[in-house]
């Protein structure tokens, strides 16, 4: 995977466009580190509509639940069922652990490049 292909939302999700209207979404390494050991991922269903900037999934650690926000508007094409059995994959390989694949993308939030995102988290630390 070429690093340049990843773009980021300010809320720490990454999006990787497969073509102009399809993309995979996951959470960044910074996010998984902040969240700690994940025990369960609550994914939407195939066919669900998602909206840019709105919650579409949540992740559970032992003592907390955190919302995951969609960087794009579209329809859920596929969900990564592996994550349902092995939520720890998100902690170990965040950039490979895609949550959903979205199609019919019609809108997106303001996205940052890899460098811009790294700058953002540099400031947060």
């Amino acid at each position: 995977m070429k690093k340049e292909e990843f773009q980021y939302a300010k809320s720490h999700e990454w999006v990787q466009f497969q073509d102009t209207t399809t993309a995979k979404v996951g959470i960044s390494d910074y996010a998984q580190n902040e969240l700690g050991d994940l025990v369960f991922i609550n994914l939407p269903e195939v066919g669900d509509e998602v909206a840019a900037g709105e919650t579409f999934a949540d992740v559970e650690s032992v003592k907390a639940v955190s919302n995951v926000y969609s960087p794009v508007t579209g329809i859920v094409k596929a969900i990564n069922e592996d994550l349902l059995d092995q939520p720890e994959f998100v902690n170990s390989n965040p950039m490979e652990a895609w949550f959903v694949e979205i199609e019919e993308i019609s809108d997106k939030v303001a996205l940052l490049s890899e460098t811009e995102y790294e700058e953002l988290i540099g400031k947060e630390e």
Binding site: D37, V39, F40, V62, K63, P87, E88
Partner: protein, 477 residues
């Protein structure tokens, strides 16, 4: 320690029931159980020893200091237990005719009289089985009130960000959406923020006072007025009532509906997590919506009145956790009006005493006197020495004390909430203070040692991550 399923032998058991003295009826094939049933095959000796072993691995109020903030772990009087075991209460079928349960009706009516006087409400309903259940019921009352006035756009409940999780959850269950309102840095309701969110869609406001950081909000009358002026109703979470019995009443503070926790304020035991009782109280304007029929008293005795047609309907079967109400009534009769006030005064005194003595070392985020509980923040200790609230709590376990409540309320970082209650002696508190000071010193001098705690308990820190990732929720035969 073995599970009970890992004990015993095939063929062992207790001899509890006699032979059948009538013709035996067999179940027809298609209706009978084919699936194997595995239950322990143990003698009474083994059962007795098993539970004694379990008992030794349990920490109750009878074991030691239990300063769990927001839970009011006061002493559970034994006379309450005796009264709740009277056959005249335990052997009564809930569907006996009214003339045959005059004692039960009297218990509930008396308890209602005491609690309405204590809270300033007009009615009490004992049906809800726990605090959260009472909250749900109270929320339903508010819903019913607005609906009866065709005020259906009132679909929002305002909840402070300091509230207990059951508050917003109960509001949501009752069909409301929740608006969170921020607290001020001092832990009080931010009145300006509150004014901003009150509107035509406000159904009500949920608050506890003293609040969840143990402070009495002196602006309470202004707060409840803002809600009333906006057309909403005020809900009082009675979890903190132990601070103000005989001193102030939610009914006088502008609250329209309350729930009580008999297993907190009124000394009924917690049982390891229940059964409790969460009666709901309300002013006259909400009385018609209550789930249970009212109990009236006249010359001939006690009577259950016809339930109002506007009732929200029952929230569980029968009348509520009756034996818990018996315990609470026994407690209230023992204390009387004077004793209840004395209990609250000493609850507040004890909390202030501990807070004052701990102020030198521990970070107390709020100024002034606290009420019946106070919050400590371990935030600075965490930044400087890497010791978190959970480490302090686990270290306390090694000293034979139960730790305070951890990580609640959410508005204080690394919170430990301490509630000694009025039933603790000064010596116990002094010992607890000494332990806490010792642990603080360790946290500063040798923080690593706290991460390993507890070391003196039957088990060490459990792996909660794998418990959640790979749940094993039963024993497999």
């Amino acid at each position: 320690m073995k599970l009970i399923f890992e004990k015993g032998m095939i063929g062992r058991g207790c001899d509890i029931l006699p032979e059948c003295d009538v013709a035996v009826t067999k179940v027809q094939e298609s209706l009978s159980r084919k699936k194997e049933l595995h239950l322990p095959q143990v003698s009474e000796t083994e059962i007795s020893r098993h539970y004694t072993q379990l008992m030794k691995r349990t920490f109750g109020i009878n074991d030691g200091f239990y300063p769990l903030g927001s839970c009011t772990m006061k002493y559970n009087p034994k006379i309450n237990e005796d009264m709740a075991k009277l056959p005249g209460f335990t052997d009564i079928h809930p569907l006996q005719p009214q003339a045959c349960v005059q004692g039960c009706l009297e218990v509930m009516k008396l308890a209602e009289e005491y609690l309405t006087e204590i809270t300033g409400m007009d009615h009490i309903d004992f049906q809800p089985a726990a605090g959260a259940h009472g909250e749900f019921t109270g929320m339903k009352l508010i819903k019913a009130y607005h609906e009866s006035r065709n005020d259906s756009k009132r679909n929002k409940i305002i909840v402070p960000d300091s509230a207990h999780g059951t508050n917003p959850a109960s509001a949501a269950m009752a069909g409301f959406s929740v608006i969170n309102v921020a607290s001020t840095r001092e832990g009080y309701v931010d009145i300006e923020e509150l004014k901003k969110v009150v509107g035509e869609d406000t159904a009500g406001f949920m608050l506890t006072n003293p609040n969840t950081v143990g402070l009495f909000d002196e602006n309470i009358l202004e707060i409840t007025k803002i809600i009333h002026d906006g057309g909403g109703l005020n809900y009082y979470d009675g979890a903190n009532l132990n601070a103000i019995m005989g001193i102030a009443r939610p009914g006088d503070m502008g609250f329209d509906v309350v729930h009580l926790n008999l297993h907190k304020t009124f000394s009924t035991p917690h049982g390891g997590g229940g059964p409790g009782s969460g009666p709901v109280g309300c002013k006259e304007i909400l009385a018609d919506y209550l789930p249970s029929p009212r109990i009236s008293k006249n010359d001939t005795g006690y009577k259950l009145e016809m339930k109002s047609e506007a009732s929200i309907g029952r929230v569980k079967a029968f009348y509520g956790n009756f034996l818990v109400v018996v315990r609470a009534l026994t407690y209230m009769i023992t204390l009387g009006g004077d004793g209840l006030k004395n209990a609250s005064e000493n609850a507040v005194l004890n909390a202030n005493y501990m807070m004052h003595r701990l102020k030198d070392k521990y970070q107390i985020p709020f100024e002034g006197y606290c009420m019946h509980e106070f919050v400590i923040s371990i935030e600075e200790l965490k930044k400087k020495n890497g010791v978190a609230a959970i480490d302090i709590a686990k270290a306390i376990l090694d000293y034979g004390m139960h730790p305070p409540t951890m990580y609640f309320p959410l508005i204080v970082h690394e919170a430990l909430m301490v509630e000694p209650t009025e039933t603790e002696t000064k010596e116990t508190m002094d010992e607890a203070i000494a332990v806490l000071e010792m642990i603080y010193d360790k946290a500063v001098q040798n923080p690593e040692s706290l991460h390993a705690c507890p070391v003196n308990t039957p088990v060490g820190r459990p792996d909660e991550v794998s418990a959640a990732r790979n749940p094993i929720l039963r024993y497999q035969y």
